[in-house]
Amino acid sequence: MTSTMAVAVPLLELAHARSGDKGDTANVGVVAYDEEDYPLLVEQLTAERVKEHFGDLVIGPVERFELPNLHALNFLLHEALDGGGTVSLMTDAQGKVFSTALLRMRIAVPAEVADRVRGRGRHPGTATRTG
């Protein structure tokens, strides 16, 4: 994996994701498109880095859980929904689009991985590599 230089790509090209809510906590489940990329996600998508990515969008801590059987990671973003549910004033009061907010995150991958996944996750009419 270290045979070539690391390239930063958006997580969008490596994984798909779904998010939801439990009270004031948003969860984001991240699923690798290719099983072989799961170890990269485990290595790169640490709770600390995800917390840093979201910045002031997540007031509380970020927890991470691993589901190697599904090649997935689950993140709990505490105090992310302005009180959540009916209390929240946010457009996204139920955390439905925290998924794509996380898929914006740029992560370092070997160049051959970047070549393999290039353009994935974007509608073919709009495919560009932007974060």
Binding site: A17, R18, K22, M90, T91, H123
Partner: protein, 457 residues
């Protein structure tokens, strides 16, 4: 081996595709139709409705649906299991019985309704007996908001559902059952699974989690190459083909839209997930890291290997309490400099609110079309953004302050930045906030109260 039991999901929330349950019934053979209407916010909404009219407080969509499908369900032996009862399951059951009679199912149809999950009348006794009902996130005791509590319901597992099915119900109506119990209740009933068969029950919970959000398991809201999913206008809702040994397949009716693939099912499995090794339900604690998932092709995903452990000594309680008021106002600003105009308007509005001496617990300014969903991650607005919607929301305990806020939006049209529109809807409404308070309670003090009543059409 005996034929698998086909458990079809027909609704993922109150407000879901009204035609989906009909498509599930007409699209091919099924044994059960399970309809999940409840979310955390739904119970609060239903409570508000019941406060205005004691004869409502349930998922009213369920009644015309049953009027439409009752005869066919009875004729074909398809049983319906739903938490449509919300905060008023008996009223829901009576309305369904009437619907059954109107539809010509009279004399042949039995409805089982689960009661006893409503703790409102017992709340003070429970608190006095030392059940503090601390908020699961903040740890604050319920006493802090006791005088503002509007409803309190315990999350029930599948035992009452199984009892209703065993009693010959064609339709089972519950209040705050867990979403997953609607799917694994029929499995327990069909396969006589004992309540200590934790691996089997855990498999049922996984099946229930797949079913509970309807088309979210079959391509709906799927972020994996969504544009490749076919015929979404007629998306097939998931069908679990359950087997006595705990293995099951996820599929959908042939010819329906959407897809059942490893991607669509995995994405649903991680939805609203907490600690995946400890998915707590009233009947079992499931370990989602034991799921072995195989995409068999042809819109069929096989799940096996699920392990589980015993349930906890607690049940979850959903309390709804009054938590002040809120309102949301919006205006649309057009090119050029749409985002700059919206931000300027928000500054003017906030200064006016301050000058009026209005205090709020929270004021939130978002710019729809730029940063309302991804915040700072959206970066700076593009220089030639064609338009944005300014969205300002306030929350506070003082209703009159929130009401005055709703009168401060429209004046911006004549007294603020130019090229502004989108105010034709009138003043925004003041909404009472009925908030959700999750707590745990010793199950032994509530389980004896759960009971099934049978009503015959």
């Amino acid at each position: 081996m005996s034929k698998p039991v086909r458990i079809a999901a027909g609704q993922g929330f109150w407000g879901d595709d009204l035609e989906a349950p009909v498509r599930q019934l007409e699209g091919g053979p099924i044994d059960y139709l399970v309809l999940d209407y409840l979310a955390e916010v739904t119970m609060s909404i239903m409570q508000k409705q019941r406060a205005r009219d004691p004869s409502v407080g349930y998922a009213r969509d369920f009644v015309p649906l049953m009027e439409r499908i009752f005869p066919r369900c009875v004729a074909e032996g398809v049983k319906v299991v739903s938490n449509a009862g919300g905060v008023n399951p008996l009223a829901c059951a009576k309305a369904v019985i009437e619907a059954g009679r109107r539809a010509g199912a009279g004399g042949r149809a039995r409805v089982g309704v689960v009661v006893g999950d409503d703790l409102m009348d017992r709340l003070d006794d429970l608190l006095a007996a030392g059940h503090a009902l601390n908020h699961m996130e903040t740890r604050e005791p319920l006493a802090a908001v006791r005088d503002r509590v509007r409803s309190a319901n315990v999350y029930m597992g599948a035992r009452p559902i199984v009892e209703a099915l065993a009693g010959g119900a064609h339709v089972v109506i519950t209040g705050r059952s867990t979403d997953t119990a609607l799917t694994y209740g029929p499995m327990v009933h069909e396969f006589d699974w004992p309540w200590d068969a934790h691996d089997l029950l855990a498999a049922g919970v996984v099946a229930g989690h797949v079913n509970e959000c309807g088309a979210q398991a079959t391509g709906g809201n799927c972020s994996a190459e969504w544009w490749t999913l076919p015929k979404m206008a007629q998306v097939g809702f998931p069908i679990v083909e359950a087997e006595p040994g705990g293995e099951f397949s996820v599929t959908k009716h042939a010819g329906s839209g959407g897809a059942v693939t490893a991607r669509t099912v995995k994405e649903q499995l991680v939805y609203e997930m907490g600690d995946p090794t400890s998915y707590v339900t009233p009947d079992v604690t499931a370990d989602f890291t034991t799921i072995q998932l195989t995409d068999e092709g042809g819109d069929r995903v096989r799940i096996r290997g699920v392990r589980g452990g015993p349930p906890t000594p607690f049940l979850k309680v959903s309390v709804a309490y009054s938590a002040g008021f809120k309102a949301v106002g919006s205006l649309v600003y057009a090119w050029p400099d749409a985002a700059a105009k919206a931000r300027a308007a928000a500054r003017i509005l906030r200064e006016r609110l301050d000058r009026l001496g209005l205090a709020f617990d929270r004021v939130l300014v978002e710019t729809v079309g730029w940063d309302s969903t991804h915040g700072h991650l959206a970066g700076d607005p593009p220089p030639d953004l064609p338009e944005v919607q300014l969205r300002v929301a306030v929350r506070g305990r003082d209703r009159s302050a929130v009401a005055r806020f709703t009168r401060e939006i429209a004046p911006l049209v004549l007294t603020g930045p130019p090229s502004v529109t989108g105010f034709a809807g009138g003043r925004p409404a003041v909404q009472e906030i009925v908030a959700y308070w999750p707590a745990l309670i010793d199950r032994t003090v509530v389980e004896p109260n759960l009971a099934v009543h049978f009503l015959d059409a």
